[in-house]
């Protein structure tokens, strides 16, 4: 299985994502933002970091990078595109998933383990996963997901909410909402479920010595689903 990770100026989780994808069997290539063509890929990943220093708005300048036109075309043709953290912000700015990501409610960067609940397994990312609650890791300053009421209704009607922040038993409420996201939303799909944007970093949870191993479950399952 072939994957590509895009490096934007200021990306800083590109290597971590490369390590994770390779660990679970992807043949991964790093792609420079200023290239115009994507290598043949089964999965495109927009990694975390601070593309363009988060200047103007997080993800906004990266969403206009040369490579993004190809990413958009790839997504529109049904290809799998996953954005993590800053990658999610770029997806939002590129209009590939609905909504916006605001500054965290408590106006602080937050780095910690969280639990997330999967609601929708009818997609290539979560299909066949045994667990409904995963322990992931977040590290962001602007992860406060927001959208209009109309958008929210549409998202819910289309089952586009991928992940909710919750507790270890799957309870979803304000106490387990780290950043103020509407409805505790931690990740979201496009209408066709081939594009996934999420704030948590599965690539930081791929080893028992790190924060945990639920990222390993995610990647192992993902490559099996793509096969």
């Amino acid at each position: 299985m072939k994957s590509s990770v895009i490096t934007f100026p200021g990306s800083n989780c590109d290597r971590d994502m490369d390590v994770a994808l390779k660990k679970f069997g992807f043949n991964n290539k790093m792609v420079w933002h200023n290239d115009s063509e994507l290598p043949k890929s089964d999965l495109i990943v927009l990694p975390g970091g601070f593309s363009y220093g988060d200047y103007l708005r997080c993800g906004s300048m990266a969403s206009k990078s040369k490579i993004m036109q190809s990413v958009i075309n790839f997504a529109k043709s049904g290809g799998l595109v996953m954005g993590v953290c800053n990658g999610f912000q770029i997806l939002v700015e590129a209009g590939l998933v609905p909504g916006v990501l605001l500054r965290n409610k408590y106006l602080q960067f937050i780095c910690k383990n969280v639990f997330v609940k999967l609601e929708n397994k009818e997609n290539s990312y979560f299909k066949n996963l045994d667990k409904n609650i995963l322990e992931f890791h977040i590290a962001h300053n602007e992860g406060n997901y927001f959208c209009t009421n109309d958008q929210l209704k549409e998202i819910e009607d289309n089952n586009q909410i991928a992940l909710y922040y919750c507790d270890n038993e799957g309870q979803i409420n304000e106490n387990f909402n780290p950043n103020g996201s509407i409805k505790n939303i931690a990740g979201i799909f496009n209408k066709n479920k081939n594009v996934l944007g999420m704030m948590p970093h599965p690539e930081r949870m791929i080893d028992q010595s790190l924060s945990g191993e639920d990222g390993s479950l995610f990647f192992k399952n993902l490559i099996n689903n793509i096969r």
Binding site: P9, N12, G48, F50, G53, F109, C111, R204
Partner: protein, 730 residues
């Protein structure tokens, strides 16, 4: 502008220093030259008050590849790998403008590390604030933490450990010390020594602006009521540009184009160009019209003294200009050939086709002033004789509650959750442990690092305090299973022109040197920050020690959380009941006098090495060193982290229980072992003559000290976790 003694004094030079300049040049300097002298001869850059004493530090060892004198120190971690590391202060700017001051402190130290070819893999910091009640403290803390996070997070380098303290002596002068570790191949280390004639001198990175002019001079003076006016001397950071600069430099360094490289830190273009020339015993010629500027009409004086961030100076091999330019173009960074190396041994500056400065390099470096300042030796204070009555009114539970929620003991999670501590995917011990630990990417090795200081001990008796800080750093590394390798230090003191402050400096350095020599724990880098003082009042002497150690197999790393019910807890090292200068004495008894605990270096070494051998044999399930707050504080933290309790054995010694629980005797650790290993562990400890005793056995979620004194782990946790968050929200 006419230069005379008055102008020189306004530049922070002493009258006699100005005379020395005129004598060395055999003429009056022009204003640009005077600016250059003032930048090179200030305390921050010249170490004029400290040089004499710093020479005493042990800086050599079989693992030391590079000691002090370069951008950072380098140690060998085997298999062709090396770790580059250093700690540096950014105290003065952080008080004036906490966000930018702290941010650029972090940026500066990372630049020092990647200048040497190393990719930064971990950041640490030691930050000290005034009393929590002081009106500035909260905002300073918030600003500093945001600044450290803002820069480090954007760079994608994990912040893995740190230290935060509050003490009223920092009310007018906070401390912000930032440390970075980088990883490099031993044969790909880059140095700042220029070599060869007519080699192109290249400027890369951000453009030069008017920010930070005289930053180094500002950091070489005390504060007074006009401090607000100093804001323009604080640099403004741009971590995004630094991230690009990091990647571009490492890309260029993968080839063989670079002869020498030096970051533009304190005193900017001035010190970087002069240091490269001085080390290479060469001259350097710069055309200032070629320097990329972000503001119009900058004068030679401003260009030379700007401390704009994210800039580097490189001496390239001839013919490599195009290749290098291509890399910096790719990363959208400025690249300019601004000069060349010469054989004149002078620094020659040109602007608008005129020579605007011509100074022999040696006058700026070797001939810079060096002072043997007067200093006063500190007496060891007399021990307090505590009467039994002082203890009778106290209850263990209340005392423990007060200590666990004390601002200098409580959990600092509110701080470190704002730092990305997991990026790069190799952090295997997060902040909150004895040391932070990161794996050496793609290997079985890991590197542990800790940063420590004990200002109260240093204040009570600088010589003992200096030794203690090194010993504590050593213990913190051993507690995670790392072999202590080397240290970096950041020496934060008041004015060297005050005999008491200078005495504190001299004796702390002596203590540090003695301990680091004895423990074979050499000093490979560091910096000195004097004048942490407002008017006549200086801070408590605060040397920060950044220790680095190696774990050969990261799976053998130890953490402090209690692991398993029915395991035993042992105390290594003898508890003598030293209460003076302990947190207990200060916060419960309100007693501020007396000597700090004695440091017995033989015991430190013996106890530490014995523990390492137990770890090597896989006997140790968890470990924690006993330091501030004493034994009961240490075991409480292990309980909280492991969410398990302990049932204490009956105390068998003659000490009062408060002395036993809260004394801060040195050289002690708590270890968790399996009952079946007890005989073997005891055998090893006895053979090495290490004092040890059984403290108790691990049970479910309760701490049972005796029949009357029981606490749940949730209680302990609530004491320990809430203070900082409540304080910041209040």
């Amino acid at each position: 502008m006419l230069v005379n003694q008055k102008v020189a004094v306004e530049h922070g030079l002493k009258a006699e220093e100005y005379e020395k300049i005129c004598k060395l040049l055999k003429r009056t300097p022009n204003i640009t030259e005077l600016g250059i002298f003032s930048a090179m001869w200030n305390e921050h850059c010249s170490y004029k008050s400290s040089r004499l004493h710093l020479k005493k530090m042990p800086t050599k060892g079989k693992k030391v590849i590079q000691g002090p004198g370069e951008n950072a120190g380098v140690i060998d971690i085997e298999d062709g790998d090396a770790i580059v590391f250093k700690i540096e202060s950014h105290n003065h700017p952080s008080f004036i403008e906490p966000y930018q001051g702290a941010a650029t402190g972090v940026g500066g130290i990372m630049r020092d590390v990647f200048t040497m070819g190393a990719r930064p893999i971990a950041n640490l910091n030691s930050i000290h604030f005034g009393s929590p009640q002081h009106k500035k403290t909260k905002n300073l803390l918030r600003g500093v933490v945001h600044g450290i996070g803002g820069y480090g997070n954007c760079m994608g380098v994990p912040t893995i450990a740190g230290q935060t303290s509050f003490d009223s002596s920092y009310n007018g002068n906070i401390l912000v010390n930032a440390m970075t570790l980088g990883l490099v191949k031993k044969n790909k280390i880059f140095y700042s020594k220029a070599a060869g004639l007519n080699k192109p001198v290249i400027y890369v990175g951000s453009k030069t602006g008017r920010d930070g002019i005289h930053g180094a001079s500002m950091a070489s003076a005390s504060f007074d009521e006009k401090i607000e006016e100093k804001k323009p001397t604080v640099q403004v950071g741009d971590p995004f540009t630094e991230k690009l600069l990091l990647e571009a430099c490492l890309e260029l360094m993968s080839g063989d184009s670079i002869i020498a490289i030096q970051d533009m830190g304190a005193a900017g273009l001035t010190s970087s160009s002069i240091e490269m020339a001085s080390k290479g015993n060469l001259g350097i010629e710069i055309n200032l019209n070629k320097v990329p500027c972000r503001e119009l009409k900058m004068t030679p004086y401003e260009i030379m003294l700007s401390e704009s961030q994210e800039r580097m100076l490189i001496v390239l091999e001839n013919g490599k200009e195009e290749l290098a330019k291509k890399i910096f173009d790719k990363w959208n960074l400025d690249f300019a050939i601004i000069g060349k190396t010469t054989n004149t041994k002078n620094i020659e500056l040109f602007f608008d086709n005129k020579q605007v400065a011509n100074i022999p390099v040696n006058t700026l470096v070797e001939n810079s002033p060096m002072y043997d300042r007067k200093w006063k030796k500190a007496k060891l204070p007399k021990k307090n004789k505590l009467k039994k009555e002082v203890f009778t009114k106290l209850k263990i539970k209340n005392v423990l509650q007060k200590i666990l929620s004390n601002q200098n003991i409580c959990s600092k999670e509110w701080i470190w959750q704002q730092y990305d501590h997991t990026v790069m995917g190799d952090t295997i011990q997060k902040p909150g442990g004895d040391s932070g630990v990161v794996r050496v990417h793609g290997t079985d090795k890991a590197v542990a690092a800790s940063v420590d200081s004990s200002a109260v001990y240093c204040w009570a008796h600088p010589l003992t305090g200096g030794k203690q800080v090194v010993a504590e750093s050593w213990r913190n590394l051993i507690s995670v299973g790392a072999t202590p390798t080397a240290i970096t230090n950041c020496l934060n003191f008041g004015s060297p022109e005050n005999e008491d402050n200078m005495g504190e400096f001299v004796e702390c350095v002596e203590g540090i040197s003695e301990a680091s020599e004895y423990l074979d724990f050499p000093v490979v880098s560091g910096n000195v920050s004097f004048y942490n003082q407002t008017k006549e009042v200086g801070i408590k002497p605060t040397p920060s020690i950044g220790g680095v150690g190696l774990i050969k197999n990261y799976k053998k790393m130890i953490t402090m959380d209690l692991k398993e019910i029915n395991n035993l807890i042992l105390v290594i090292g003898k508890t003598e009941g030293h209460i003076d200068q302990s947190l207990f004495a200060r916060t419960i008894l309100d007693e501020k006098n007396g000597p700090p605990p004695e440091v017995n270096l033989f015991n430190e070494k013996n106890n530490g090495e014995s523990l390492l051998s137990l770890i090597e044999k896989d006997y140790i399930k968890s470990a924690h060193d006993i330091s501030l707050g004493g034994l009961l504080t240490a075991i409480s933290k292990m309980c909280i982290k492991g969410n398990k309790g302990i049932k204490f054995r009956k105390l068998k010694n003659l000490l009062n229980k408060f002395e036993y629980f809260f004394a801060e005797d040195q050289g002690r650790y708590l270890i968790e072992i399996n009952l079946k290993d007890l005989v073997n562990v005891k055998k090893i400890l006895d053979k090495n003559s290490v004092f040890h005793e059984e403290l108790g056995v691990i049970i479910e979620k309760e701490m049972i000290i005796d029949e009357k004194t029981k606490l749940t782990i949730d209680e302990l946790r609530s004491y320990n976790t809430n203070w900082l968050e409540n304080y910041m929200d209040s």
